[in-house]
């Protein structure tokens, strides 16, 4: 994939994530911070499909943005064909792992499989 496409995705995910993370944080503040973290409150959030969908989207956006940022930093620190391939594929693997792990949580709670 051309670097310009990767960086456009990097910027796009950043802008989209800002809005959605703001909603996620506001949910903690509108209810009262400590109350919003109680078990029943959190379960209710996960069970509400639009909110669960939003969390899934945040997970994907921030995983892509975060691991691409890490890839950029690591590529600048050391160069070489093998190392660069290892960094790129390693970051993609880490990204997918995190998305799968987080999605598992969201899907299992949303469908009542806890």
């Amino acid at each position: 994939m051309r670097e310009s496409i990767i960086m456009k995705i990097h910027y796009g995910t950043a802008l989209a994530a800002v809005a959605l993370v703001a909603v996620h944080i506001l949910m903690r503040l509108t209810q009262g911070f400590a109350e919003s973290l109680e078990y029943d409150s959190v379960i209710a959030n996960y069970k509400f499909l639009p909110y669960a969908g939003m969390l899934e989207i945040i997970l994907i956006l921030l995983s892509i943005h975060g691991f691409n940022g890490l890839r950029v930093i690591l590529l600048e620190l050391k160069q070489g064909k093998t190392y660069e391939k290892a960094v790129s594929y390693g970051c993609i693997a880490a990204m997918i792992t995190l998305i799968v792990y987080g999605s598992r949580t969201i899907i299992m709670v949303n469908t009542g499989m806890t």
Binding site: E3, E76, L77
Partner: protein, 255 residues
């Protein structure tokens, strides 16, 4: 290692009668037999107008003629005398001792350039990256083709790129760049600014060629707009501006 403070008694073309003096610390390193750089100190008198280059040449003339330093025009035109002066990349001929506000002046070879000896560094990488972005007008026809026998350009069109054509290839920007500090494959602010110089030139038709060259994992996208290149440029080229304007083409902000 401190040297004797008084200058040799000989006929000098420049009478040095100043009461003020500074300690000039020069980094000495010969890769052929030194394992690490060491500093030698020299006590040099100076006037309000004395430049760092003049101080180094005083050392060469009277105290230690083996100091290796590159210089030529002495007027910030050739770009030969770039070095780290008190921690920042500067042209030695363009930096007055009085403006540094310090009694100790430390001069070292530019970072991110391999050292030949002492203050002289190799410029091959800068030349290679500069060459990579095709620093010439690209078009199919020549000046002979149109009736005007030249490629006409209005003053407004000239204004769009003239500042970037001021580049003297001194390498200070490459030395200051945080990405160049760790990335051996990065194209560098000098080459990217020159890429913009040609892309912005109305006579040039090679924009797509150049954008393709710099659209690389170690190309324009490894610039993070730290701006250090523009902070140190002695000719007002402002490479950071050129790079961001160039990136505007790739992000769709400019067509």
């Amino acid at each position: 290692m401190a040297q004797t403070s008084s200058l040799a008694d000989e006929n000098s073309s420049t009478p040095l009668s100043s009461q003020q003096s500074i300690i000039l610390r020069i980094a000495r390193f010969n890769p052929e037999h030194d394992s690490a750089k060491k500093f030698m100190e020299f006590n040099i008198p100076y006037e309000k107008w004395t430049t760092v280059l003049e101080a180094i040449l005083e050392v060469k003339k009277h105290l230690d003629h083996s100091v290796a330093v590159r210089y030529s025009c002495r007027q910030a035109t050739c770009g030969s005398c770039g070095m780290i002066i008190n921690g920042k990349p500067r042209l030695a001929c363009f930096t007055k001792i009085s403006e540094l506000n310090s009694n100790i002046i430390t001069v070292e070879p530019m970072n991110n350039f391999p050292i030949i000896r002492d203050l002289a560094v190799k410029f091959e990488r800068l030349f290679d990256t500069h060459h990579k972005i095709k620093p010439y007008i690209i078009r199919d026809d020549t000046e002979i083709t149109p009736n005007t026998k030249e490629f006409l350009q209005s003053p407004e069109e000239l204004e769009k790129y003239i500042q970037f054509s001021n580049c003297i290839k001194c390498g200070l920007c490459n030395s200051a760049c945080p990405t160049m500090a760790t990335d051996s494959s990065f194209v560098g602010p000098q080459a990217l600014a020159q890429a913009y110089r040609y892309v912005a030139d109305s006579r040039d038709k090679g924009k797509d060629d150049r954008l393709k060259i710099i659209d690389d994992s170690h190309g324009i996208w490894r610039c993070h707009f730290a701006g250090s290149c523009s902070q140190v440029c002695p000719k007002g080229v402002d490479p950071a501006m050129g790079i961001q304007l160039l990136r505007g083409y790739m992000l769709g902000f400019r067509s």
